[in-house]
Every structure is written in structure tokens, then in C-alpha cells.
Amino acid sequence: MTANLSKSIEPMVRANGVHKNFGALTVLKGIDLTVQRGEVMCLVGPSGSGKTTFLRCINHLERVNAGRLYVDGVLVGYEERGNKLHELHPREAAKQRRDIGMVFQHFNLFPHMTALENITEAPIRVKKQPKDKAVANAKRLLDQVGLGEKAKAYPAQLSGGQQQRIAIARALAMDPKLMLFDEPTSALDPELVGEVLDVMKELARGGMTMVVVTHEMGFAREVADQLVFMDDGAVVEMGAPPDVLNSPRELRTKAFLSKVL
């Protein structure tokens, strides 16, 4: 199989038996799944089920202990030479991350920078974009998330929903091919959830490949192509959202859904 051919038919994310443990605690016990290009996958499940850890593995913020994880056909965090896996140099790992955007539960904006500076930081430092180009792009992104007038505001001066929309714009500024969302609305007041979900829906409609850890079942039903239910470090059930939500096959899925729906 030539490299070019494999790339064009490769899914965006492919996980084969991904394991992760923190010391004696095994958090992921062999995750198998694929996310196709342009697809939105929602990960749901009780807390402690490993959803967030799996998301962080995709971005190599956590090291995979066993199994293979590919993003766009490229092994994440490791290099395969002969029959052995070699861990990537941190600089190479950083290079892989720049194409993957990530949005965190607690926004994690840089508090000492304005909204605009938060967005232009990575394009200028990592992609070496000229400043005026980065600023112009950032302003366009701020408009896209509906915060064009907040360019000069500091994170502490913005509401949670506004901060999270800035965080999305910051991730988009790197022009990612894949966006990871780690419970993006869990830290928000109920009336602010909608504005963030709207931005995410818009992204999904634009064809962005997204993996979303969420408790928003309404969002999952409306936007997701695949719904994955995880529990205790393993995938329990996956399929089209209406199927999983309306007629879950597994007992654990039923028990979980009865609590959140």
C-alpha cells in the first residue's frame, strides 16, 4: 500500500486496542474505534469512564501504553521503525499537535493575554505567521464565534460562555483538521450552554471532524454521526445517536441513559 493511497482512504482517527494506565490504575482497557473525515463523534458515559483520557491520548497529552492510535494515518506520539515503536521527540510530538485543536472543560485561556492575543499566540509562535495576518485571521474568527467586539477584553472580564467561544476560536486559529472537545459546556451556567453549542453546530455543518466528550444528549442527537457510550475504560456500545439513545442494547447503557435523559 503506498503512502498516498493509504492517506486518502484513512479515517481521521483510528484507535486499535488503546490502553492507558496511571500507575496501577488502568483507565483505558483497549479502545477500538474510528472517526471518518467530516464526522462528528460524541463520547458519553459516567465520570471516570476514561472519555477525557482517551481525548487527551489523541492529542498525545497523555502517552498511550499499549495499542495503536492513528490520526490522519499517522501514528500518534510514536514512530514505527522495523517492528518496534519509538517514542517521538517532544518537538515532533508538538508538531503533530498543531493540526489538532482542543477545547477544555475549564477553557484554559491564558489570563495574561487579551482575547485577541490568546488567538494569535500559536499562529505567530508556532506557524511563524506574520503578525498582521494572524491578527486579521483572529478578528475573522472572533466574528465567527460572535465576539468581534471583545478582542481587547481579558478572560477575567468575560463570561464563561464567551471564554469558551474564545477558546474555540483559539483552537481554530491553527487551522486544525480535527477538533477535540472535552466537556466544553460542563462548567457553564445553563443559560450560557446554548451559545457554545451553536458555535459547535456551525463548525460541524462546515464539515469539521470533531470528537466531543459531552453530557449534552440533545446536542449529540442533533449533531453527532456516531454516539459512543463508554464505561470503565471500554467502549460499551456505539452507533447512530437515535439508535443508541432510543433503543440501547446494553444494560449499562440503559442504566446510564435513564439517569441523564
Binding site: P90, R91, A94, R97, R98, M102, N108, P111, A122, R125
Partner: protein, 285 residues
Amino acid sequence: MTATQWQPSELQRTRDAYRRSRARRSWLIALLSSAVFVGALVLSVGTSPGWPRVRESFFDLSLGWQDLPGLLRALWINVQIMLITEVFVLVFAAIIAVVRTLQGPVFFPLRFVAAAYVDIFRGLPLLLVLYLVGLGLPALRLHGAPDSPFVLGVIALTLTYTAYVAEVFRAGIESVHPSQRAAARSLGLTHGQTMRHVVFPQAVRRVLPPLLNDFVSLQKDTSLVSVLGIIDIVLTAENYQSQDFKFVHYVMAGLIFVVMTVPLTRLTDWVARRQGWQGSGGGVV
């Protein structure tokens, strides 16, 4: 405004009056207790058998006033030492703090040296460091080694204060939440870029109050360089003292230090307060 003006109710008015009377009462009590305290102090010191001689030797301010021009001229040396030392301390302390946070086995020797340096120089009394550097270094007769007391004094102060300030910086770096690093790394920034542009600026903002505190302390400790024979403000006062055996010259020098440190102390307070709204934790306080 057409709406009727808010009027305090009868009950509210009696409440306000009661509060005012309580406030007056607190004032009176504070005044009375202060008067008793000062009275007791004056009485006990003033009636002590040695007081007339102490007053004559230490508090003859009309005599001390004449020192002012000479002392202020000598103070310039202390100010120079302070400013030069501060610059070196900031640079070296930042380097050592960052070295101590480096990860990976390759950096073990660097980390070890940095930690050992901090442990040693935080423990050594400044006076001993001044002797070791000021008298020991020239005694080595190394070619090109500095022999000016001024330079040696700056080196000794820098060695000691860099150890303190490095710890202040390190505490700041470690206080920045790991999620900030995760966010920076997820954007593709390298470890170095993350430290320099995300972690360090936040750390410095947070440690500004303790940092200024250390500088207030440094400001005073510049007086210790007089042991190397630098004619600074303290040695000048000593010279005056050796002429008439009165200690008012030291008191004057002390007053000058107090007057000089107060603005820096107030600046520290102001910076600490100001951080409230620009909070680096992301919360609105």
C-alpha cells in the same frame, strides 16, 4: 427623576443613629487606650536612670541634622549597589528557577547544581558571604579576578539574593495550573515556548509582591558592604560617630533607610491590591 426619592424609614434612622453613636464610642476608647499606652511608655523610658545620657547621645537631632548632606552623598553608593545587584539577581534567579523546573534525566546535573546552590546560599549568613567573597576572592590572586570592594560587594549580595529570589520565582512557576501548560501544548507550542510565553509571565505577576519584599530587604542589606571598607552611608555615620562619640549619626542613617524603604513597601502593597482585578487565576474578584 420623577420617581419619589428614597426616604429612610423611622426605624432605619434610629438604626443609623445607634451605629453613629457606637462608632463615636469606639473612637473614644481607641483614643483613651492610646493615651494610656504612650503615657506609660514615656513615663517608663523617661524616668529610667540612663535616659538623659541616651537622649543626649542618640536623639540630639539638631546635631544629627548636620549629617544629612554627608550621609545622603554616601547613600548614593548604597543606591548604586542596590540597583546593579537587582538587575543581576533578576536575571540569574530567573535562570535558576527555570533550570530547577527542567524535566528529563539529561538535565539532572544542572538541576542538582541549581538546587545545591540555592540550599547553600540561602543558608549562609550574608555577612559571611561578604567576608568569603570580599576577602577570600582577592586573596586567591587569580589573574583578572576583581579586587574592587564595590564589585566584590555586588557579587556577594547577588549570590545571596539570587538564591532567595530563585525560590520566589520557582514558587510562582509551580503555582501556574498544569491546565495552562496543557492548553499551550495542545496548540503546538514547545516546552520552551510554553514556559516563556505562558507560564513565566503569569508566574512573575503572581510573585511580584514577595519579589518586591525581597528587594526592600536587599535595600537595607546594602549597608553590610561597609564591612569591606566601602564608604557607604553606614561607614560615613561611623566616621562621624568616631569624632564626637554620639550615636545620633547612626539614628540619622537609620531614618534615611526607613524613609527610603517606605515607598517600596507601599508600592508592594499597591501591586498586591491591583492584582485583585487583573487576577491571574482567571477569576473575577
